[in-house]
Assembly symmetry: C2
Homo-oligomer: 319 residues x 2
């Protein structure tokens, strides 16, 4: 099967007939502009063995890659429009793998009317590498950014925090004290994160700053501090936890570090002042924005300031 067969058989159906894609038969896609809107563009790359487990299923690899890009759109308050994919398959990858990979993307295509619009497929002798560019749209000049937090704003998060990082450890068998159900719940949260697209849209015009939690809550809040020129004070006792995460720290309290700095949650962290919009996910206040350049300070369960050995995932060195 050559490149053209692969595209025709597995990827062209993911366009769902969207005319912007030209059926993947042209040099590029052409996405009509909508008056009063900006196109939001984000690109993420993942490498086998670094960003996903060697034995991860192709559907989960694709689902997570696409989900994390949708999460970046959500963080900007953008509605999904479509995406392009660059896939470097390992030499000898069979058609079944590619079919299941495409099926993993297909779940998002359907969930958000988020068609594939183009891309490239190549072969590598090394670990498989995928990159995805997501395109969204948001009202012109109203994209949520990391830069608008103001002293006096409240800091919120969507959903529950720490499930992604605990889920990676659970999937690797590193949390033996957890019940099977909790291991399964956390693994699923790591493997198939749910981007908060609807919440992001609802926050346009309401949040003063927003980011998605990919590197870790503390590190990502640090990005809001830097971009906004403010400090943030967080109370670990307010950070919303799943039952599984709570069970994990009951067994091993030091796991609160993993929860607060571990990354891969793909929840939104945002700052706002005044009423919150209705959302399809719980919004929980976890702290406040303060003046100054002190970065993120976290009060722990004992009421004392916490310090962290590890500030978050470093994508460049992979540590």
């Amino acid at each position: 099967m050559d490149e053209f067969d692969v595209i025709h058989r597995y990827f062209a159906p993911l366009t769902r007939g969207d005319v912007a894609s030209f059926g993947l038969t042209d040099d590029a896609a052409a996405i009509p502009s909508r008056a009063g809107f900006a196109h939001v563009i984000t690109t993420d790359a993942i490498v086998q063995g670094v960003h996903f487990l060697e034995d991860e299923t192709p559907a989960n690899i694709a689902h997570r890659l696409c989900g994390s890009n949708l999460s970046d759109l959500a963080a900007m308050g953008a509605a999904p429009v479509g995406f392009t994919l660059a896939a470097a398959w390992k030499k000898g990858t069979d058609a079944r793998f590619i079919e299941q990979f495409a099926a993993g993307l297909g779940e998002w295509v359907d969930a958000f009317k988020f068609p594939l619009l183009g891309g490239d497929t190549v072969v590598t002798t090394g670990p498989m590498t995928f990159s995805l560019t997501a395109i969204g749209e948001v009202e012109d000049g109203r994209a949520l950014t990391r830069g608008g937090a103001k002293p006096g704003d409240t800091v919120y998060v969507t959903g529950t925090i720490g499930d992604g990082a605990l889920g990676l450890r659970a999937a690797k068998g590193e949390l033996p004290d957890l019940s099977k159900a909790h291991v399964s719940f956390l693994s699923e949260r790591f493997r198939r994160p749910q981007p908060r697209v609807d919440a992001g849209r609802a926050l346009v015009g309401r949040a003063t700053a927003c980011i998605d939690i990919s590197d870790g809550l503390v590190q990502d809040l640090g990005h809001i501090c830097s971009a906004s020129g403010t400090a943030l004070r967080i109370d670990a006792r307010c950070v919303p936890l799943s039952d599984a995460a709570r069970s994990a720290i009951d067994s091993d309290p030091v796991l609160i570090d993993t929860i607060l700095t571990g990354g891969d949650d793909y929840e939104l962290a945002f700052t706002a002042h005044g009423d919150l919009p209705a959302a399809d996910v719980p919004l929980t206040a976890i702290g406040e924005v303060a003046a100054g350049s002190g970065g993120v300070t976290v009060t722990g369960f004992d009421g004392e300031p916490m310090t962290f050995a590890h500030g978050g995932f470093n994508h460049f060195t992979g540590t």
Copy 2:
């Protein structure tokens, strides 16, 4: 040096201060829409040892990747707007390599006011892999496609054909009969292709179908046949050649196959009826569009139909 340092030091300057990029400090870029225009999106991926020589300079790798994406924009008649980059560096890649890679991109950033708008940088244990997503804009509904060729149209190409594929062979030392100057000219054409952006813009509303020559002239014209539902008749004697390419086939006439099917020219092939626009590159008629499903037929130097052993580069199998 971690991911954030790399982005701050080498990539943030490539935004040239474009506000759409948020200085690479946010989750995504936000590109304002222009009334009456569509955004054109294309993604290409390259792998070390497959799409570029192991010992290629970082500036040339980057220059060629970005140039080939600009060529896809040109083929759609789109003006460059900006790009995102996903880079998977080999573990241990030094800062100097990254700096020179960024410098290679910078040439296009300046040539076309084509700022970097976002991306991702990761590390791989395998061959380096890069993917670039180029964003352009074209008048709404007027993007050039492969699909509009009509019987009676003339087939044209920009510039000279075959220099890319001959250049790869020259760079590998496979064309020993060529003069040093010709080897150098052809290698440069392979390593640093010039996307025909201005010609593509000039062809909007004039060309009936258009494609850029990346897979090989014959194969890419075949894509126009498929998309347009026509046949094409090409005369090899009309295909414009550089002095270096002419010298190569003087030494070894079989190289005409390489010229016609070898790829990597990044010239435009297009069909048109009536007057041509002024362009900054020669436009040469090489054949005509015919009715029917016979694909591309090529008349050779001897006046007889040519057959080809190899229909073009297969990006999926890398053969």
